[in-house]
Amino acid sequence: MENLPEKLRELLKTSLQGGNYDPESLDRLQPDALLEDLGIDSLDMTDFFLRVQDACNCRIKREDFSRLVSLSAIQAYLEQSTDPAQKE
């Protein structure tokens, strides 16, 4: 996917729309910043991972959620995924 870091940020903003989150803090979010420090609810995170799956045409396993703690971690996960079952 082209411009993956920016795409992930956009998808995260989409997932958090309507929630009690500070839009400016999302704009300032550093790639290595822990997403839990934003106070993002786990269901909103699931929403985000589902949208990332759609956008990347890949599968993020439920058991991997807990280690995808930052935008950079998610980017690395997507880029390093070579398991044919994880890409559709």
Binding site: G18, G19, N20, G39, D41, L43, T46, Q53, R62, F65
Partner: protein, 354 residues
């Protein structure tokens, strides 16, 4: 079907946007007193050691405690006991700090109408049998609680009656539903789950299919007066309990080896009457045998947390949306349940394979 495609289906996207506004709810549970007028068969409060603790009865201590809970990030409280209506000053202290929540009560004493919490009134059987479950201290049959509940909460919009199905009371629900809906109230269902260290005669193992049928009968007969869905009925009457169907996210289960993470697993606590808690008992009804758990309270967290699993197909997602919609209507005062998006299936979609 992709998640984006699911949300493009108008009624699904609309329902998802409706419930998504409540993803902020972070719940904990609080037993606020060990006092109760009754000793009911099947009551979990008097199972285990927690009923032996020394109550903290100081409303200001509770106020300070709830202030700390709010700072911890708790946005929703479940106040229970024994019988929380017997400590009105503690309830008021809580409400003045965290006003979103629910009180679980036997309804024999009215709760201050200024406390705009959801009020769950427990019902165990019809007028002939409820007294047999609701024993007075000493073992004598108690009152028909529903009569007192309907009197104490007449025209009270906070109330929701919770009928707990057990092995023996399945055919009693129609009389109860008629009385409740006849007074303009709503009801929902719970399913009895076996206590941890004993086997109760109330256990429902071989009557689950009958309970499912009766739930559907009541839903279809009383319409909007019943806060429930076909998927709720399917989940809570499956031969596998919640733990086997979906895993469990509560801290108690994680401490015992559950691999399900996220949700309220990191924030939920079940506080006892002395303001302490223990991770070994941090779940919604701690003295339950996890294998048999079908609690409606547990399902609210467990099923809701499984969005990922339910977004695999349209049918699963419809079920999940109905389930969460029903749970919010059950627990959040003023939340209105929508129409069911998931139809009664010819065959159950459970268990959900990954």
């Amino acid at each position: 079907m992709s998640f984006a495609a699911l949300l493009q289906i108008p009624e699904l996207g609309e329902r998802y946007r409706k419930i998504k506004q409540y993803f902020f709810l972070k719940e904990s549970a609080y037993d606020v007193t060990s006092a109760c007028q009754l000793r009911c068969d099947g009551c979990y409060f008097f199972e285990g050691a927690k009923s032996q603790l020394r109550d903290n009865r100081d409303p200001e201590a509770w106020r300070s405690f709830f202030t700390d809970e709010k700072q911890r990030g708790i946005t929703y409280v479940v106040l229970a006991g024994a019988e929380p209506a017997l400590v009105p000053k503690v309830l008021k202290a809580c409400y003045e700090v965290i006003p979103l929540g629910c009180i679980a009560t036997n309804g024999l004493r009215a709760i201050d109408p200024e406390l705009r919490y959801r009020i769950h009134l427990s019902v165990w059987g019809d007028s002939a049998h409820d007294p047999l479950y609701r024993k007075l201290y000493g073992g004598h049959p108690g009152p028909d609680c529903l009569t007192a509940q309907l009197k104490n909460y007449k025209n009270d919009d906070r109330t929701l009656f919770v009928y707990t199905f057990n092995h023996h009371n399945i055919d009693q629900v129609m009389e109860v539903a008629n009385r409740i809906t006849g007074e303009g109230h709503q009801l929902t269902f719970n399913v009895f789950s076996n206590p941890q260290h004993s086997s109760s005669s109330l256990k429902v193992d071989d009557t689950l299919a009958k309970i499912y049928d009766r739930m559907i009968d009541v839903m279809e007969r009383f319409g909007d007066s019943v806060i429930y869905s076909y998927y709720n009925a399917e989940v809570h009457t499956h031969t596998k309990g919640l733990h086997d169907l979906f895993g469990c996210i509560y801290p108690r289960a994680r401490q015992m080896g559950s691999q399900v993470k996220g949700g309220i697993g990191s924030t939920f606590r079940s506080y006892r009457t002395d303001l302490t808690h223990s991770v070994e008992t941090d779940c919604c009804v701690p003295d339950t045998d996890c294998v048999d758990c079908r609690h409606f309270a547990a399902g609210s967290a467990i099923v809701t947390s499984q969005l990922h699993l339910h977004a695999e197909t349209e049918q699963r997602f419809r079920g999940w949306l109905d389930y969460v919609d029903s749970y919010l209507a059950t627990w959040v005062l003023g939340f209105k349940k929508g129409v069911n998006l998931y139809s009664r299936p010819k065959e159950s979609i459970l268990p959900l394979e990954t």
